[in-house]
């Protein structure tokens, strides 16, 4: 699998070709539209991330030691950002997710260009993904200890 930071670098490069913010948004809208709608069972308050002004739902499974995220939002640009995060984080081990720094958000200027409330929402999303990773790591550790 491609290196975590390589994917981040690719995202930054993809965005750098757009001169106008509206083109960047158009790209995010495309990404958002391409991300499948989350299963209704996860579209509940239990999976809702606090701190976002629009609704974001997030769920993660551990399959063969790798995380598989399912996420969705009721706002399409936010869903595009969610899609970027999912693309980056899916298929990673919990350790990879917890160890690697996220630089692409700053790299594509998303943080500066989202209002503080929104960028808090973005941070809340990342935090939740890392919490899933941490929880699965602890669970794996416990299972190993029992073996």
């Amino acid at each position: 699998m491609t290196d975590f930071n390589e994917i981040q670098q690719d995202i930054v490069e993809e965005f750098s070709v757009f001169e106008d913010w509206l083109d960047r948004y158009n790209y995010l809208i495309e990404l958002g539209n391409d991300l499948p709608t989350i299963d209704p069972q996860y579209r509940t308050s239990e999976y809702l991330i606090n701190g976002c002004q629009s609704k974001v739902w997030l769920h993660a499974d551990l399959v063969d030691g790798k995380l598989e995220f399912k996420a969705d939002s009721d706002a399409i640009i936010v869903k595009g950002i969610v899609a970027l995060l999912v693309k980056l984080m899916n298929g990673r081990t919990p350790a990879e997710i917890m160890e690697n720094e996220l630089f692409f958000i700053d790299g594509i200027g998303l943080r500066q260009n989202l209002s503080p409330t929104r960028s808090n929402g973005l941070l809340a999303m990342v935090k939740k993904m890392r919490l899933y990773a941490m929880a699965y790591q602890v669970k794996e550790q416990k299972t190993k200890n029992h073996e």
Binding site: L22, Q53, A75, I76
Partner: protein, 406 residues
């Protein structure tokens, strides 16, 4: 004579800038308005040359500052045509003013089983202080509903005004629906039962002349920063006889007469309600803003905004897939709308990048959103420095937003 908007816009330095390399189109005036150069200069001049605590010293600067502060009170009195400057209390803003009345009036006149009447379209700041009072006193909050156009259901009023109603607190103009309420009618009917009425003028004073004596309201209040003055300042007007009866809501310096450890006697009006060093810079800046409005012409502003309203409504109604929330006949230039199947935050993010500043969310009126079963709206709120061309650009931006998100 019409307004020369181009010339007026030159008075507001903040409007001259570009955002994301596009001219700023500022339509979030319901949240806060910009300051004309004269207000900015006044505030700076006070800091540079005159700053001194009011009502305290007899030295030169203090005397000067005190007389400017009291002159500001007189300017505010004249602006809303109060009978006496003793009826003008400087507060921290509209929210501070409501809280002052809710506390002082509540202490004096509200007890267990009493009722407070508000409306369904109130800003949270004209709901929560009354709820807190109700909790303190065991009173009950009653609500005048509005209809699908965002107009008050006056036919419900006679049922809602009861022997237990102690006060009616009503917004003069709605910050999310744009409705101008039939306040004179409400006041007349409340007064028939000897119930005082408080009007929240935070969204009204910047749009046209307000005459508290003609309205015959018992309390009127507004914020400085929404009428082109500095933030952190506001006004509470109250009829003198009523204010005389009310206990102070904050204790501290300046509001006292004699202080001993055995007890304190209070200063006279209006100082009884101005504890601590008041925001004199804000008050004087506000007076400068009011003088500026007079120099532009308050009647002319009202007339121009009527044209702006007509133009905006016509343009917005021409957009397919756009639904307006609040279609009252009498209205201010505040427009709430949603685009079909489009999340308002998506629309706001795109409009922002076009240099258009609108507001998205509940606008501190969650019950209004609940009424329509929506989570929020996009709100464009205009004042007299907005142009017809800006409205056209907003509508163009909306079209492009719809295109991008479909």
């Amino acid at each position: 004579m019409g307004l020369n908007i181009e010339q007026i816009r030159n008075d507001f330095p903040i409007l001259q800038q570009q955002v994301y390399n596009k001219p700023l189109i500022y339509m979030d005036n319901g949240a806060t308005t910009h300051k004309p150069q004269v207000v900015i200069d006044t505030v700076r001049e006070i800091q540079e040359k005159q700053n001194s605590s009011i009502h305290r010293g007899i030295h030169y600067l203090s005397e000067q500052m005190t007389s400017r502060y009291e002159a500001a009170r007189e300017t505010v009195r004249a602006f809303i045509n109060a009978a006496s400057s003793q009826e003008i209390i400087f507060t921290s803003g509209a929210t501070g003013s409501v809280n002052a009345v809710a506390f002082s009036f509540g202490e004096k006149y509200v007890s267990d089983g009493d009722e407070i009447l508000i409306s369904e379209m109130e800003h949270h700041s004209n709901i929560v202080p009354w709820q807190m009072l109700c909790e303190r006193k065991g009173a009950q909050l009653k609500v005048i509903p509005f209809d699908e156009n965002g107009e008050l259901q006056l036919d419900r009023l006679d049922d809602l005004l009861t022997d237990k109603t102690r006060i009616v607190a009503l917004t003069h103009a709605s910050n999310s629906l744009g409705t101008i309420n039939p306040v004179k009618e409400v006041i007349r009917r409340a007064h028939e039962r000897e119930i005082p009425v408080l009007l929240d003028g935070a969204q009204m004073v910047q749009h046209g002349a307000v005459d508290v004596r003609e309205l015959d309201c018992d309390f009127y209040l507004f914020s400085s920063h929404k009428i082109f003055g500095p933030t952190g300042s506001g006004v509470l007007y109250g009829k003198e006889a009523l204010l005389e009866e009310l206990p102070p809501y904050q204790g501290g310096g300046d509001m006292v007469d004699q202080v001993t450890f055995e007890g304190t006697t209070y200063n006279t009006l209006p100082f009884k309600f101005e504890a601590g060093t008041s925001n004199y810079t804000g008050a004087i800046g506000l007076a400068t803003a009011l003088d500026y409005l007079h120099s532009v012409g308050i009647e002319e502003i009202g007339r121009y905004e009527q044209e702006l309203i007509r133009h905006t409504m016509e343009k917005l109604k021409g957009v397919d897939r756009l639904k307006i929330y609040g279609e009252a006949k009498h209205r201010i230039s505040v427009f709430s709308f949603l685009l079909e199947n489009i999340h308002p935050y998506d629309a706001d993010m795109i409009l922002d990048k076009m240099g258009i500043a609108v507001r998205t969310g509940t606008h501190c009126t969650q019950p209004v959103m609940d009424h329509f079963g929506i989570s929020g709206t996009i709100r464009a709120s205009l004042v007299f420095y907005n142009t017809m061309e800006e409205v056209d650009q907003l509508v163009e931006g909306i079209h492009r937003t719809i295109q991008m998100l479909s």
